[in-house]
Symmetry: C2
Subunit: 161 residues, 2 copies
DNA sequence: GCGGCGGTGATACACTGTAACAAACCCGCC
DNA sequence: GGCGGGTTTGTTACAGTGTATCACCGCCGC
């Protein structure tokens, strides 16, 4: 996973994400079951967005088959609780890097080279979007902001190498 | 289709869109074949985003079956030439309401009630996005901006009725 | 005519996601 | 301990979305 330039206060890394997931569930009286934990781990470990079927395969082993439908259920749970995000343009899932209010304007930065996905949020962007929507007479309920391109790390790597 | 509040210079309506498609193809030396025309019509006629399979069904008739794969090819062609857009969050397609540079920041406003999709673009929004990306060290290649909510027409309709 | 090329038809298939129902589990309660 | 009810998971089947492959057709230039 590449660095996160756009935001701090970001307890990143597998451990931090699992700890946060656990905390959130305890707080809300929800069960952080073994399956949900495993799915969370699988999403958090991977350096890039994972498809549901990828996760199902990763969790399966000789003698244990995890069906995609189970993965979807775990992912739904994790999404409802803001622990993972869905990348619509990829039909794939990433861990939520930092806690942010649900529905808040977060942009996903998807690198074409390394496949990594970073999150960025900005007041400025959100304000611009709000004003544009208001001008159009549109009341937003949910936004999808995804940008595909080249992340800083990959560009450096390319220039250096 | 509801009104377009956010932009003008918008030769909307079936005729205008077909004319533009024809013009674009002639300009670029590309073929605006019957099938492509029919797919363009199907997308332009419908008041809301159409799935590829919907289009295939609409074009099929007793004695003539249009396979989804043919529709996809036509849609790819039309998308490459900026005549239709894909709505990632719906797996569906809409006609491009107004000519805009490829890759330019256009937001799709998707109404939950009527299913209509409007386009809006704004300098302000684009600037905000550009600055956010620059701050994150990210070089954009392609953006997807989709907002789901309630369009003005539907809100009025609801208050009146 | 002949070869190349783009478009279309047709089949098959991969990938993504959901519905429905059964079984296991947990927990409070009698 | 046993019972009832809610939640989670397993399993199967299926719907929806998109692509690969190959064959055929029509057109155009040589």
């Amino acid at each position: 996973m590449h660095r996160h330039e756009g935001h701090d206060a970001c307890e990143t890394g597998l451990g931090g994400m699992l700890a946060r997931a656990e905390a959130v569930c305890r707080e809300r009286g929800l069960q952080f079951t073994p399956l949900r934990r495993e799915v969370m781990e699988a999403v958090a470990e991977a350096g890039k967005a994972q498809g549901a079927y990828d996760i199902a395969e990763k969790l399966s082993a000789p003698g244990r088959r995890v069906a995609p439908v189970s993965v979807y259920r775990a992912l739904d749970f994790l999404m409802e609780n803001g622990l993972v995000h869905r990348i619509a343009s990829r039909n794939a899932f990433i861990p939520c890097a930092h806690g942010h209010a649900p529905g808040e304007g977060v942009v996903f930065l998807i690198c074409r080279k390394c496949g990594g996905v970073d999150e960025a949020s900005s007041e400025e962007l959100e304000d611009g979007l709000d004003r544009t929507l208001k001008r159009a007479g549109f009341t937003p309920a949910h936004s999808i902001l995804e940008v595909e391109g080249d992340c800083g790390a990959c560009r450096e790597r390319q220039q250096a190498g």
